[in-house]
């Protein structure tokens, strides 16, 4: 276990500075956008979750998210191309699963840190906007900021419902999407390195399941919902199964030294 812990820290050391910068940029940029959007008078009466999306904060998150995806892919390749540290690791007297899982867990923690930063940003933004509204008297007989506004934002925003789901089924679905995405990104890099191009169909399948889950999660509460109630359970189960296969196949490829 000590070896595993050492490996985790070793892998994370190569990434944490950039992850920290991405998270700080995310928080700072979102606060800036929200404060700017308050210049428009009518936004002072807007719900926090709508203000958050209208001001462009979700786009900022998505940009940071894809930068992080790119960072993880770059990290895999740099081990093979730049530092060639992977060959050193492969010669160490420790199970090869450790190498795979240490990288996988490292990437997961990177994404988890980004999601946590997003939540911190939401808290901070709500605090700043509450102070702003309280200090700028608005209208008689109107209580602002609204009661329980941040909770309502977490419950009502399709974006926050995916990051911070409050129901068991939704939680499982988000967890499946999150783990599925990280495993798939890493798996795609392993497949490319081991030249198993046909198995990219599994990557496409996994990404499709994630996209379908996202569509379902966003549309499931639409009034013209076209999806049956249990579709999400099927999608979540399919995503878990695909992720299990991806982990199994990744381990197989690493153990067979197929990765070059």
């Amino acid at each position: 276990m000590k070896k595993m812990y050492y490996l985790l820290n070793h892998d994370f050391r190569g990434l944490y500075r950039i992850v920290a910068v991405i998270c700080i940029v995310l928080i700072a940029l979102q606060q800036f956008l929200m404060i700017k959007s308050m210049d428009y008078y009518q936004n002072r009466f807007e719900r926090y979750e709508l203000l958050f999306s209208k001001s462009g904060c979700i786009i900022v998150f998505l940009v940071c998210f894809f930068i992080l995806c790119g960072l993880c892919i770059f990290n895999v390749y740099s081990n093979y191309i730049e530092s060639k540290s992977i060959y050193t690791l492969l010669t160490l007297p420790l199970p090869r699963e450790y190498i795979y899982f240490s990288k996988l867990i490292t990437y997961m923690v990177c994404f988890l840190t980004l999601l946590a930063s997003q939540i911190i940003s939401a808290w901070t933004g709500y605090g700043i906007i509450s102070v702003f509204i309280s200090s700028h008297g608005t209208v008689e007989n109107i209580d602002l900021p609204v009661n329980n506004g941040l909770f309502l934002a977490f419950i009502r925003s399709d974006f926050f419902r995916i990051i911070l789901p409050f129901g068991f089924r939704s939680f499982l679905s988000s967890f499946a999407m999150f783990t599925g995405l990280v495993c798939t990104v890493y798996y795609a890099a392993i497949l490319e390195r081991s030249r198993r191009y046909f198995r990219f169909s599994v990557v496409i399948l996994s990404l499709s399941l994630i996209i379908f889950s996202l569509i379902h999660r966003i549309n499931s509460l639409a009034m013209l919902g076209l999806y049956e109630n249990d579709y999400i359970n099927v999608l979540t189960a399919a995503l878990f199964l695909t992720t299990a296969f991806i982990i199994y196949d990744s381990l197989r490829l690493i153990k067979k030294s197929a990765v070059v």
């Binding site: 009518q42 911190i120 209580d143 329980n148 009502r156 939704s170 509460l221 009034m223």
Partner: protein, 463 residues
């Protein structure tokens, strides 16, 4: 510094997990932290002791089920994960133009046709080609007589099976002048041969109240009557929808309708207002010679009893009607659109025992507040009204009535010696009104409106 680097993984992981843990802790605490209490405005809350009021306050993301038992409010948070979780969608049965029963939705509509043999006058339109399409020639046909056909569509919950009834009740509207316009479309092929002609009523030219339909379900069968004013002639009645046929059926009149009873509108001065099923009987609500009446029928169309209210008339206009059936009581809300009686609201309660009707409660309220009853229930000598009210002052700050917050009011009336008087009024105060703040000072409604984005009271019940 070296120690930090050696444990950098935990330094990032632990705070990230803590953020999630704290957020979930916050949400778990906040879910039961809304404003949600009963505020007494008049009288004593003891008036609510013998009943339980229940319902949901919900938007499409979450709901709060509540019960007011012995005057105490209890409520529970519900997180919605799918649209099927929304309580209203699973329980609501009355729509503005239909109803839902046993997983089927019945929607009514009317077809309007120029009466056979009626005088007509065709006038060309300014642009006589519909959408500049040379194969469609358009004009307007004016007439003074229109026949009205009732159409009911029956669809299942997933809109896969749709069947219909198209029925001719013999109802007609005759105007004094040639002022009812029909838009006529004539279709031609490329050789200039006429392929067909259609006529559609231009509703803006129709000089009277357009008919509506009263629908009710008794023993899983749909009964209906046509809501129309005294300007209409021909026949009306109580009908039973027996058989629905697929919409593509190639026949003029689809489906089968049984006539339970029929009235000649030319011989009587009758205006039908509503039809309700109470126990195993039908109650027809109507104005006859301007006087409001409730008439009890069995399913064979035999009149069993009648109750007349000579102080409720249609002389100054036809009122809006809403009915609530609880046990063996039919509770009625009437509201006039007439300018002189705009503030007048009448609440009636009629008891049905065996084959007779009895007058239980009657309240006439005068208030400038808009009132939308959610439930009216009678119990012994008490009458309970749960209604959403909207203040005129608040209405002026918002772009429209639907986008203005309301107040859920609870009224309890007592009837003693044939007099009904208010014994309690209170408001269920919530923070749901704050959902409407975003509409303050907005005049442009072109972006649309989804009522499920706002917390609203649904499925209010009194037991």
């Amino acid at each position: 510094m070296d120690k930090l680097e050696k444990n950098i993984f935990l330094i990032f992981l632990v705070p990230a997990l803590l953020v999630f843990a704290i957020s979930y802790g916050f949400m778990a605490a906040a879910k039961d932290n809304p404003d949600f209490y009963l505020e007494d405005l008049e009288g004593n809350r003891d008036a609510l002791k013998s009943i339980t009021i229940s319902g949901y306050l919900e938007d499409r993301y979450h709901g709060r089920y509540f019960e007011i038992k012995n005057g105490t409010v209890q409520s529970k948070f519900i997180y919605y994960q799918h649209r099927n979780d929304i309580a209203e969608l699973n329980g609501y049965v009355n729509f503005s133009n239909g109803l839902r029963h046993n997983d089927f939705t019945f929607i009514y509509n009317y077809n309007f046709e120029i009466s056979r043999g009626a005088k007509t006058e065709e006038r060309p339109n300014e642009n006589n080609h519909y959408n500049n399409n040379p194969s469609v020639r358009t004009s307007t046909v004016f007439t003074d007589s229109v026949d009205i056909y009732a159409r009911i569509t029956k669809t299942d919950d997933i809109y896969q099976n749709s069947t219909a009834i198209l029925f001719d009740p013999g109802l007609r509207y005759k105007s004094n002048g040639m002022d009812i316009g029909f838009i006529k479309h004539e279709y031609f092929d490329s050789a200039g041969e006429k392929q067909g002609t259609t006529h559609h009523l231009n509703r803006e030219t129709f000089p009277a109240f357009l008919p509506r339909m009263a629908m009710t379900v008794l023993n899983d069968e749909l009964y209906f009557s046509i809501i129309c004013t005294k300007e209409y002639s021909g026949r009306n009645g109580i009908y039973k929808a027996v058989n629905f046929e697929p919409w593509w059926q190639n026949s003029k009149y689809r489906g089968t309708v049984d006539i339970i009873t029929s009235f000649d509108l030319d011989d009587t001065n009758m205006e039908v207002l509503g039809l309700e099923a109470v126990k195993d009987k039908l109650v027809l609500l109507l104005f006859e010679d301007n006087e409001f009446k409730a008439r009890l029928y069995n399913t064979e169309g035999k009149v069993l009893d009648e109750l007349a209210f000579n102080d409720i008339t249609s002389e100054e206009g036809f009122p809006e009607y809403q009915g609530f059936v609880r046990d063996s009581y039919l509770n009625i809300y009437l509201k006039y659109a007439n300018e002189n009686r705009l503030n007048e609201k009448v609440i009636l309660s009629i008891g049905i025992e065996g084959e007779s009707l009895s007058h239980k409660h009657k309240v006439t309220e005068y208030s400038n507040q808009e009132m939308y009853p959610h439930m009216i229930a009678s119990k012994d000598d008490m009458l309970y009204v749960i209604a959403l009210t909207k203040n005129i002052e608040e209405l002026s700050n918002y772009p429209s009535q639907v986008l203005t917050p309301g107040h859920l009011m609870i009224f309890a009336y007592k009837t003693d010696n044939d007099k009904t008087f208010l014994v309690y009024s209170g408001e269920l105060v919530t923070d749901a009104n704050q959902d409407y703040y975003r509409n303050l000072y907005i005049n442009d409604m072109s972006f649309g409106y989804n009522s499920y984005d706002y917390r609203e009271f649904h499925l209010i019940d009194v037991r």
